[in-house]
């Protein structure tokens, strides 16, 4: 479609004009903005990458022919991702979204080599003149999960599948734990680290082990639906969708979910590049701004618990309540937050400790 349009324009305008315009990209009167996406999992993972790809499709829908998007899926964190980003930049991408924590250093490295290309790195903390960071306050969603989990568990054991021991994941564990303990002082967390974002086999094994050890709630910070399948198999275990709704497992075992909604952010950033107003920023939005969505709380949750969860969501959204509000101690018993004090973003961004009550050590 585009090609024929371009070709026709060239024919009509003749060689003189085409030559004066320089490149064929200008032949139909618009420069196409090329936007690249680097994904850590396959777009069909049903979780994290699936939602980023929904964001990409929203960009295509919003801008139509004036934008071209490209993506590469299942890119390993590390040197391989650097190669993929470099290739995208060489192919003319003006804006590249790198959508996993482990792409942080590769993004900075490639950004140095291509000062005219804009980069957007998800969930990281390193920025440059042409590198923005963006993330969502998933821990707000974790607070709601913790509340439901603590209210519904009968064994008082909640299993948690961690991916990597990074601040992002630890923040989620702490937030879920704080709110589970609030409604159920006997609750215990069992945490298994899978050391992967996406590996259904490992995630399934981890979920099974947690269930065997008595957990009747499994929270996951990994991207596949395998733990949901394991919980369904076990029969009496509840789970929460991670990154995406995972609605195919509703209403049970999946009783709610955290949904990432990247589309508005992606559209705004692409617009900024087109307008020439793009600048390096740090975005960290939560439930209030709509970047974190809470999937429908299913009927498997008792009505009063659902009501409390929705009230908690409303207070997190309007800012009247912060998920990390004192008094809170760190795991070793030292003070973390005084009564009524809330954690600042710097502390949250670098969180590398468990709060009081969680057992076990964070692997180094």
């Amino acid at each position: 479609m585009t090609f024929t349009k371009r070709a026709a324009a060239k024919l009509l305008l003749g060689t003189a004009l085409a030559a004066s315009m320089g490149t064929s990209a200008f032949a139909d009167g618009h420069a196409k903005t090329k936007v690249g996406f680097v994904y850590v999992g396959p777009i069909g993972d049903g979780g994290w990458t699936f939602e980023h790809d929904k964001g990409r499709l929203a960009v295509e829908k919003e801008f139509g022919d004036s934008v071209e998007t490209v993506f590469v899926e299942s890119v390993a964190e590390g040197p391989d991702s650097e190669r993929v980003m470099t290739q995208m930049a060489l192919d003319g991408a003006e804006l590249i979204f790198t959508t996993s924590f482990g792409y942080m250093d590769p993004t900075i490295n490639v950004a140095k080599k291509f000062p005219n290309v804009k980069f957007e790195h998800a969930t990281g903390y390193k920025r440059a003149d042409n590198v923005s960071t963006y993330s969502a306050r998933f821990y707000e969603g974790r607070a709601i999960q913790g509340h439901i989990a603590g209210s519904m568990t009968k064994s008082n054991i909640i299993g948690y599948i961690g991916s990597y021991p990074i601040p992002e994941v630890i923040r989620g564990i702490n937030s879920a734990f704080i709110h589970a303990r609030k409604v159920n002082p006997d609750v215990q967390f069992k945490i298994v680290w899978a050391y992967t974002w996406f590996d259904p086999a490992k995630e399934a094994d981890a979920a099974k082990v947690l269930i065997e050890q008595g957990a009747d709630v499994v929270l996951q910070h990994t991207d596949s639906t395998a733990p949901q399948a394991a919980a369904q198999e076990a029969g009496n275990v509840i789970t929460f969708g991670q990154a995406s709704d995972m609605g195919q497992y509703a209403p049970f075992p999946r009783v709610s979910s955290i949904i990432d909604d990247w589309a508005p952010y992606y559209i705004a950033r692409v617009q900024a590049v087109k307008d020439g107003t793009w600048s390096s920023t740090d975005t960290w939005d939560g439930i209030g701004a709509g970047m974190v969505g809470i999937g429908e709380i299913s009927d498997a949750v008792p009505a009063d618990v659902k009501e409390q969860a929705l009230a908690l969501k409303a207070s997190l959204a309007d800012g009247s309540y912060h998920a990390f509000t004192g008094p809170l101690n760190k795991q070793d018993g030292t003070a973390f937050l005084a009564d009524g004090e809330t954690a600042d973003d710097g502390t949250l961004a670098g969180m590398n400790f468990y709060v009081e009550g969680i057992e076990g050590d964070i692997p180094q």
Binding site: P42, P200, A201, K208, E359
Partner: protein, 306 residues
């Protein structure tokens, strides 16, 4: 740290599930190696089996048909290996490695539209009141049919190799293919059939991962189990019943690592990930001190003229 959190009954029952893919892949490879052929393509045949089984089960709604298709897929891929090594007389090590790499890539291509889909579920065998026997019931009698099929297969391979004429022929071909040829055995035909049997077994092992253990499809999901199966055959010094013991040991190590984590004991994942290979190396050291247990013609190319 709270080791009492580990439920020993469920922990041991988990061994059976973790060991089954290994048992299938290793028992198939054992037969292949006993006829004197070294097929390093186990991983490739497993993953092809995993996607063939998954796709068929999703399309037909029947996990059992999926397993049948997995066996066919694995055997079909192994025919490529048989053609290279038995007809073209290519190097077995290189052909096997090529088979693994090809299988991993080709399965990813086949599986593109199956990512994130739920396969039909295979129920556990119903043993009626027997399943309620304390301890033994949940450990032994709470599994799907494939687990028992795997156990039966090991016993069958053991009996055939030890007591039947077919087994004697297979072993003769593996120990000395020239002598077997002189006796009038069709060395290439026997080896090709063994390779296909190995491929079918590996395929079913792969399907067990994608249809029952996970159950889901992702590329590269066999994650090195084929290589552990190869190590397991050596570890078992080419004896079927030792394969069974080794599979529980190797499969149990994975279970153990996750169970210990859940109980609050942090052991670096890497130690347990490399332990099957470390154990195999140690066993190899001991084996080499005594008479080698490997089949005499293992890895050697046969041509009637030599």
């Amino acid at each position: 740290m709270d080791l009492s959190a580990i439920n020993p009954i469920l922990f041991i029952a988990g061994f059976f599930v973790a060991a089954t893919p290994l048992i299938f892949a290793a028992i198939g490879e054992l037969v292949v190696e006993r006829t004197g052929v070294l097929n390093l393509g186990v991983e490739g045949m497993m993953i092809i089996g995993a996607i063939c089984g998954f796709a068929t089960a999703v399309e037909t709604g029947s996990p059992l048909l999926g397993f049948a298709a997995a066996a066919v897929g694995g055997a079909a891929l192994s025919l490529l290996f048989a053609f290279l090594t038995q007809v073209m007389l290519a190097n077995q090590v290189a052909s096997g490695l090529a088979l693994t790499l090809f299988g991993l890539g080709f399965s990813a291509l086949l599986g593109q539209s199956y990512v994130g889909i739920k396969p039909p579920r295979m129920g556990d065998v119903n043993f009626g009141p027997l399943a309620d026997i304390p301890v033994l019931g949940p450990i032994l009698l709470s599994h799907d049919i494939i687990v028992y099929f795997g156990l039966a297969l090991v016993v069958a391979v053991w009996a055939v190799l030890k007591y039947t004429r077919i087994g004697l022929t297979l072993r003769a071909v593996g120990e000395n293919h020239d002598a077997a040829h002189a006796l009038g055995f069709k060395v290439k035909r026997i080896r090709t059939l063994a390779i296909m049997f190995g491929g079918a077994c590996a395929g079913m092992g792969g399907a067990y991962i994608s249809l029952i253990r996970v159950p889901q499809w992702t590329e590269g999901m066999t994650a090195g189990i084929g290589w552990i199966a190869l190590a397991l055959v050596v570890f078992a010094s080419w004896r079927p019943l030792r394969v069974l013991a080794g599979a529980y040991l190797f499969g149990g190590l994975v279970q153990l690592q996750l169970n210990l984590q859940g109980a609050g004991v942090a052991i670096p994942v890497e130690y347990l990930a490399m332990s099957p290979y470390v154990i195999t190396i140690i066993v190899l050291v001991f084996l080499s001190r005594s008479r080698s247990a490997a089949p005499g013609s293992l890895g050697r190319i046969f041509h009637a003229s030599s």
